[in-house]
């Protein structure tokens, strides 16, 4: 029962996100109620589990995901995950309350809460993951939703830049993490977190430990903004302040910390861990604190301070000591509370004064006294002032820095010194935050007159500051049990004894603390002059900008490198691509021939029939002629193409395939008409004068020679392949099956037709759908057709005819055209019913004899084309209304309906039924349901063909507006260019 509820902890925020996303843009209060309800529900839900978890229990809920790969969706909750989940939902609730007053009424607030809730769901999913892959998945989700949150004000460039940078860095880290997780899973043999946590020795001793460690840490360090990946975090401050308060105190950046601590028992304890994690943490700790002092933006200061504190926690994790881990977890919780409240305070100042620039702010202590007091306490916690929570964890940090067992002796001095220095810096920037904003003379020249914020906007800050104080005063009674639960969940039996008291007597850590406070105050006083000068950027490090390096890298990778690669390897030119395609296919075809040989022995070839030989002598000549003439003599080339097609058609007849021959013949006719209609719109191409003056240059000759070699190679290859296949013994194929059952199961003697309309009817349906789609595309393209300028004019012949008609007194314009082909035209008109009857005949007999829907449809369209040729478009359309679109629609419905009708009889789609019916005059007609299907094919093929041809033919009748003129000299193709 309890286990099932675990899913709700992840599901509720996502469901809330969807609901919030569906709210209207202006539904501000509804969104707030929803979001606060969801966050509060999640927070309260966690308390249901508390009883079990606090006793050291682990709740698990497994859903089968891909069990065959050993992947299950595991929700796993132990004390450590509980602490983080409570942080996520608790601070989430406070942030939602705060955002209610922070967000302007002009912002689309429901979207904001949708992102926020989705982010919260991802974060909860991350901490509750019981499976490594699942963890990596939620990890990337947090990157994605933080991107959306940081870029929420997407109309500002800073938000877009910041969001992009955060996503690039954290998602790249996430990819590394994913690879690391795969390696870990490989080492352990399971992706289940419980199994992984139980195999520490195996992981640390494995040969792949170091690669896995580096990859996992890449993920953690980028997410937690550790040096050298820290620079994305300050840029993420372009987000609305509630987002900063949420992402950078309790959630996003703590994900890296969470994972390092989670895997600490199995991955830490080695020198590699110490050097990587410790060094990154140490550098980040000092660098962040140093840079923070010199920030003029309140949020920028807090951002660098966050970086520094994350560095502190990372350093603690890197020290390989159990007590340091305790300190790390403790400081994580403390930092979340005081940093969230400080971000909120900075947001209040920004909201009520209109600026966050410390150089302009001053003396707010008098106009907003409550906020000032709250901020002072929180900043003091950040600085590590005694009696506040920050002090306690910092004391522990000092103690660990002093006692750390480090590989190098010099580190014994370096670590405490660095810790002290960083703490002094943090005192200095905390002072700057408080002194700069709240003390000094009254502010002048602020965008708004400062005043206290609404009580509810301050409420979340009050809660958080109260926690800071309570934990600082009574640590054992307040945070004690939770910290203990979290630490025990990570360390198990190895949990060391530690004390959460405020007073441990006068010892080294206390002295270090006091020293840090004194040095910090001194640094702040010493820097007064420099800070008041208002210089941008910290001294010494001003030129070291991670952002600039990042941007240069991005420009290089996404622009220069891509462009260079495209220039070197890519082309937009079709010819080169086709050349490559043909060349690669040739090589790919030759390779197996060389490697494997030609294969089994060949039977003797059959004798050549002389008539077919003669036919192919013509056909081959036609093919080569068509290739030769296609450039300058298009009509000749088209005729030659038809010749090659006819010989192909004869070949089909010769080898016992009447159906194919019929189809080929008709398609040949229709294609030729189609291409003839297209010729009208192509540019004139005249042989260039230079061709006479010595022919094309060297480069075109070389290109042609290369193409010729490719073409001859492809031709020889095709010949060889065709010959090799034909000379091989015929294998047993499914054709036998079709031949045996065509009549008994399909009810037809024309096996080809039975295959098309019955056995493979579904394929045919797909095919006619494609034909319909093509016809519609052609129709659509031609509706907006703009011919080139030089093709708009009426052709020369037509002009001649019209001027002749004009000149004669007794003739109308168009008479000559009408007289043209008068006798054939009359015959064509008379042929219409005859061809129509032939088409119907071909359709009806198709199941038993050569024919069928395809052939019949094409025949019928030929009948229509002939009418257009004989009478012209206007005459035909005055006398006959063809609705090609309706034909196509009816065809599709009919064939689909025939298939679906089988359902009514409890049969699968397209099951056919057949019988023979005696009809008067016609005799016995096969009336299989396949005939209906074939009727659909007929209607569709007819409609589509006619649609294409009529649309093209109409272009000559339409009056065109010409396309914009091309630059001079481009319309004419020139010889010798290919």
């Amino acid at each position: 029962m309890l286990d099932d509820l675990l899913l709700a902890a992840i599901g509720i925020p996502f469901a809330g996100a969807v609901a919030a996303g569906l709210l209207p843009t202006k539904a501000r209060n509804a969104a707030v109620w929803l979001a606060s309800g969801v966050t509060l529900a999640c927070f309260l839900l966690l308390w249901v589990f508390y009883q079990t978890v606090s006793g050291g229990g682990v709740l698990r809920h497994e859903l089968a995901w891909m069990p065959s790969l050993g992947l299950n969706f595991v929700v796993r909750l132990d004390g450590f995950a509980w602490a983080f989940a409570a942080l996520v939902s608790g601070i989430g609730f406070l942030v939602v309350l705060y955002a209610r007053y922070y967000m302007s009424s002009e912002d689309p607030v429901p979207r904001f809460f949708a992102f926020l809730l989705a982010f919260m769901g991802s974060m909860t999913g991350l901490v509750l993951s019981g499976n490594l892959i699942q963890l990596a998945f939620f990890w990337e989700l947090t990157s994605l939703f933080s991107f959306l949150l940081i870029g929420y004000w997407h109309h500002t460039g800073a938000a877009r830049e910041g969001a992009r940078m955060a996503l690039t860095i954290t998602a790249t880290g996430g990819l590394a993490l994913f690879a690391g997780m795969l390696l870990l899973g490989h080492i352990v043999g399971s992706y289940d977190l419980d199994v992984v946590l139980a195999s520490g020795d195996r992981i640390r001793e494995h040969a792949l430990y170091l690669p896995a460690l580096i990859l996992v840490l890449l993920g953690c360090l980028t997410k937690s903004a550790q040096f050298p990946f820290h620079f994305w975090l300050p840029h993420a401050m372009a987000a609305p302040t509630p987002v900063s308060a949420y992402l950078h105190s309790a959630t996003l950046v703590k994900a890296g910390i969470f994972l390092m601590a989670r895997l600490w028992p199995v991955m830490a304890g080695t020198d590699a861990w110490f050097w990587i994690v410790g060094t990154a943490g140490l550098i980040t700790l000092i660098l962040g604190a140093y840079v923070a002092i010199f920030q003029h933006d309140l949020k920028g200061l807090l951002a660098y301070s966050t970086i520094s504190h994350l560095g502190l926690i990372t350093l603690l994790l890197g020290l390989n000591s159990d007590l340091a881990l305790v300190a790390a977890i403790f400081h994580t919780l403390n930092h979340a509370t005081f940093k969230a409240s400080l971000f909120m305070a900075a947001g209040i100042i920004d909201h009520e004064t209109g600026t966050r620039d410390i150089r302009r702010l001053s003396g707010l202590n008098r106009s907003m006294p409550f906020t000032a007091r709250l901020a002072v306490v929180a900043a003091a916690a950040m600085a590590g002032v005694p009696l506040l929570n920050g002090f306690l964890s910092k004391e522990m940090f000092f103690a660990e820095a002093l006692d750390a067992s480090v590989p190098l002796p010099s580190m014994h001095i370096l670590l405490p010194a660095a810790a002290m220095l960083a703490s002094a810096f943090s005192v200095a920037y905390s002072l700057r935050f408080i002194h700069g904003a709240f003390f000094g003379p009254d502010p002048t020249d602020l965008p708004r007159k400062p005043h206290e914020p609404p009580g509810f906007m301050r409420f979340p800050v009050e809660i958080l500051v109260l926690i800071c104080i309570m934990v600082g005063l009574l640590p054992a009674a307040t945070i004690g049990p939770y910290l203990d639960m979290a630490v025990r969940a990570v360390l198990g039996g190895a949990t060391p004894a530690y004390s959460l008291a405020i007073w441990h007597g006068i010892n080294q850590p206390l002295l270090l603390s006091l020293m840090a406070l004194a040095v910090g105050v001194a640094i702040y006083l010493a820097l007064q002059k420099h800070l008041l000068a208002g210089i941008e950027g910290p001294p010494l490090l001003r030129d070291l900008k991670g952002q600039r390096i990042f941007e240069r890298t991005m420009v290089f990778v996404s622009w220069r490198l891509a462009r260079t690669l495209e220039r070197l390897l890519g082309t937009r030119r079709l010819q080169s691509q086709l050349r490559l395609l043909v060349g690669v296919s040739l090589v790919a075809a030759i390779c197996p021939l060389i490697l494997r040989g030609i294969g089994p022995s060949l039977p003797k070839p059959t004798a050549v029939d002389i008539p077919l030989l003669l036919a192919w002598a013509v056909g081959i000549t036609c093919a080569i002629g068509a290739a030769w003439q296609a450039k300058f003599h298009r009509l000749a080339s088209l005729i030659l193409l038809g010749g090659a097609g006819l010989v192909t058609c004869i070949t089909f007849v010769w080898f016992s395939s009447p159906d194919l021959a019929l189809t080929q013949l008709l398609v040949e006719v229709v294609t030729t008409v189609l291409l003839l209609l297209g010729l009208r719109w192509l540019p004139k191409r005249l042989v260039d004068a230079r061709l006479d003056a010595g022919g094309p240059g060297i480069a075109p000759r070389v290109r042609r020679l290369r193409d010729l070699i490719l073409a001859v190679g492809a031709g020889c290859g095709l010949s060889a392949l065709a010959y090799a296949v034909m000379m091989r013994p015929f294998p047993d194929s499914i054709s036998r099956h079709f031949l045996e059952r065509a009549y008994s199961e399909g009810g037809g003697t024309n096996v080809v037709n039975v295959i098309l309309v019955d056995f493979r009817g579904f394929d045919t349906m797909g095919e006619i759908t494609v034909v319909a789609a093509v016809a519609l595309t052609v129709y659509a393209l031609l509706r907006r057709f703009r011919p080139a300028r030089d093709s708009v004019e009426v052709p020369e012949q037509q002009r001649d005819q019209s001027s002749f008609d004009d000149a004669q007194p007794n003739r109308q314009v168009g008479d000559t055209v009408a007289d043209w082909l008068l006798v054939p035209g009359t015959i064509m008109r008379l042929l219409f019913p005859v061809i129509g009857v032939v088409a119907v005949y071909l359709l009806l007999r198709g199941h038993d004899l050569p024919g069928g829907g395809f052939v019949a449809g094409l025949t019928m369209s030929v009948a229509i084309i002939l009418q257009y040729m004989a009478g012209g478009a206007r005459w035909v359309e005055d006398h006959l209304r063809i609705h090609p679109l309706r034909w196509m629609g009816v065809g599709l419905l009919l064939s689909g309906g025939t298939g679906a009708a089988a359902w009514a009889f409890g049969q699968p789609f397209l099951t056919s039924y057949f019988a023979y019916t005696e009809l008067p005059v016609l005799g016995s007609v096969p009336t299989a349901s396949a005939l209906l299907f074939d009727l659909g094919v007929f209607a569709l093929v007819f409609g589509a063909t006619v649609l294409i041809l009529i649309a093209l033919a109409h272009q000559s009748v339409r009056s065109h507006r010409a396309a914009p003129p091309p630059s001079p000299g481009r319309a004419m193709g020139l010889a010798g260019e290919d």
């Binding site: 050549v608 080569i624 296609a630 095919e767 080139a788 020139l974």
Partner: protein, 114 residues
Amino acid sequence: MEILIALAVGVLGGSGVWLLLRPRTFQVIVGLSLLSYAVNLFIFSMGRLRTGAAPILEKGGTGSLAVFDDPLPQALVLTAIVIGFATTALFLVVMLASRGLTGTDHVDGRERDR
């Protein structure tokens, strides 16, 4: 006989490939048509060349490959022919539209830089 058909397939295919590599759209269209003849013949020849084999069954009878022509490649080629027509039509219209927009019938939509 096989050698003749193989030769025919080779010449049709070779001419088609040559035209495919030319710069003018009309050449490419003719090339594609030639290539589709070659491919159709090739697929057809997969059922082996049989002169005088019956294509139509006796009523009520079952056929066997010893007497009857192989129907499978025929069915494949028949659909290929129809689809080939459709794609030729589409390509023709795209080519006309492209020529209208760019003012050239070069396959790249612009003349080669010389």
